[in-house]
């Protein structure tokens, strides 16, 4: 069973439906025991970084998320759910994140008048040279995925990058570190390739994906 952490932010329905579509058993939950005992954990997140952190604490789930991320359980962060894994964000801040991964979250600078913020729409993944994360199996270099965000992860240790993407600069579009995988883009909104990525994750969580 894959647990989707419900801490009062955003639309968890799309993530749940996408995982169910690929054949996974899913539970949307805010119960720490259920999350801790799940075979895989998804941490979604939309809106402001600080608000996501506040909500996570208010739900009493900060320690739970921290311990799952530090265990062997396959863990998948999405969008702001990826950002809060890092040290801090400058969004309405600096605001402290979970600090599980080293790096800071910064606002895109507008390089040209044509560069709009948020970075919204379909952009391409450059798969990192360090070796392909198992979650990215079957995802070709240059694949298009759906982004919507104004802040990006500027990782101190950019060797965590599973992929990078260009928007005025190169930024980390997915990270991979042991059991943790997280994407700045939305796999649940990225049509076939997004579902493929979620299926890969579900397989790692031991789900009987066809």
């Amino acid at each position: 069973m894959i647990a989707i952490v419900d801490y009062g932010v955003g639309n968890l329905r799309s993530v749940a439906k996408a995982l169910e579509r690929v054949g996974a058993e899913v539970r949307v939950t805010s119960d720490a025991d259920e999350i801790s005992s799940a075979d895989g954990v998804v941490l979604p997140g939309v809106g402001a970084f600080g608000k996501c952190m506040d909500n996570l604490r208010a739900a009493g789930l900060e320690d739970c998320v921290r311990s799952v991320a530090g265990s062997d359980t396959p863990f998948f962060g999405i969008c702001v759910g990826m950002q809060i894994l890092f040290d801090e964000s400058e969004e309405f801040g600096p605001v402290k994140g979970l600090g599980i991964l080293p790096g800071k979250v910064k606002r895109f600078a507008r390089r040209t008048p044509d560069m709009k913020i948020p970075h919204m729409g379909w952009n391409q993944l450059q798969i990192s040279e360090r070796g392909r994360a198992p979650q990215l199996r079957g995802i070709p270099d240059g694949a298009f995925v759906y982004f919507v965000h104004s802040y990006y992860v500027d990782a101190d240790a950019s060797d965590l990058a599973a992929s990078t993407t260009n928007y005025g600069r190169s930024f980390i579009s997915s990270v991979w570190s042991d059991n943790i995988f997280a994407t700045q883009f939305h796999p649940e909104k990225s049509q076939k390739l997004g579902l493929k990525l979620l299926a890969n994750f579900a397989v790692m969580a031991g789900e009987p994906v066809p």
């Binding site: 955003g10 639309n11 329905r13 799309s14 439906k17 996408a18 579509r21 939309v46 809106g47 402001a48 507008r110 008048p113 044509d114 709009k116 913020i117 948020p118 970075h119 919204m120 729409g121 379909w122 952009n123 391409q124 298009f144 759906y146 982004f147 919507v148 965000h149 104004s150 260009n166 928007y167 939305h186 649940e188 909104k189 990225s190 049509q191 997004g194 579902l195």
Partner: protein, 282 residues
């Protein structure tokens, strides 16, 4: 590289697609979920539902449509039409919408946009703008209706048009019938300041004409704001999409009838745009 987006728009009334979608091979062309799935297969980059349900009692139907769509189609979905309160936004997001577009309610209460952006994030707060030229080109005899100014007109006179100046564009409400006296360029900047994450810009002069987008309007707004702009109103051919994205500098183009009637598929439009040097998702 970020690609330009092509967004089909479906008008939905009482849970049914109106404006006659004529797909070949669809079991039920009036079913928004089936149409959404079709556009998904054709390579649409996003999808927009415009709910034109008039009766208040039937407003809940769109939530079911959104729910069923979100179960089957894994692409970004924007829903607009009759969004008046934070609860309306919340219900649509909970049902599976990714973005909610606010139109008339923003004109009457701009703080609603700010409240939505604060509570749900700018990324899902789209402001839809219906614009008309102040100078009616080639429409002599067009009687200008009386202005219906918003309640805050006295507090923010800097957002209004100068009555003496007949250039530029003005915000209209009620499907392009009621002029508000609000200047479109200033309004879009204000909406951006209040937290709008995207502007859906419709030319009411061009809507339904198939004469192409109002390119001057599209370009004026695209250059005035830092958030993405979706051009809308008047598409009759792939060339119009090209003009909107290049000369008009829009980030995305919305169209309805050219896709519904099977005149052009989204793939065909993308192939054409790509051949003209526009970066689109293949």
């Amino acid at each position: 590289m970020l690609t330009k987006r092509i967004i089909p728009c479906l008008d939905v009334k009482d849970g049914r697609v109106v404006k006659g979608v004529q797909f070949v091979g669809l079991r039920d062309a009036g079913d928004p979920v089936e149409c959404a799935a079709r556009y998904d297969r054709e390579g649409a980059d996003e999808l927009t539902f415009l709910d034109i349900t008039a009766s208040h009692e039937k407003r809940g139907i769109i939530l079911d449509v959104v729910r069923h769509t979100a179960e089957q189609v894994f692409m970004p979905l924007t829903v607009g039409g009759g969004v008046r309160t934070e609860d309306d936004v919340r219900e649509l997001l909970k049902a599976g919408a990714d973005k909610v577009s606010i139109n008339t309610a923003a004109v009457y209460d701009p703080d609603f946009v700010a409240a939505s952006a604060r509570r749900f994030g700018s990324q899902c707060t789209v402001v839809a703008v219906d614009a008309r030229r102040r100078h009616y080109e080639g429409t002599s005899g067009h009687e200008r209706p009386d202005t219906v100014p918003p309640p805050w007109a006295g507090t923010y006179p800097e957002l209004l048009v100068n009555p003496e100046d007949r250039t530029g564009w003005e915000i209209y409400t009620h499907g392009g019938r009621n002029p508000t006296g609000i200047d479109v360029v200033k309004w879009c900047r204000r909406m951006e300041d209040l937290g709008a994450g995207e502007i859906l810009l419709t030319s009411m002069d061009r809507d339904g004409t198939k004469a192409g987008y109002d390119i001057k309007l599209t370009r004026a707004i695209s250059e005035a704001v830092a958030v993405p702009v979706i051009a809308s109103g008047g598409v009759g051919s792939p060339e119009h999409l090209l003009d909107g994205l290049t000369v008009g500098k829009a980030d995305a183009v919305l169209a309805a009838s050219i896709f519904h009637y099977g005149q052009y598929t989204i793939d065909e439009c993308k192939y054409f745009l790509s051949s003209r040097g526009v970066k689109v998702r293949s």
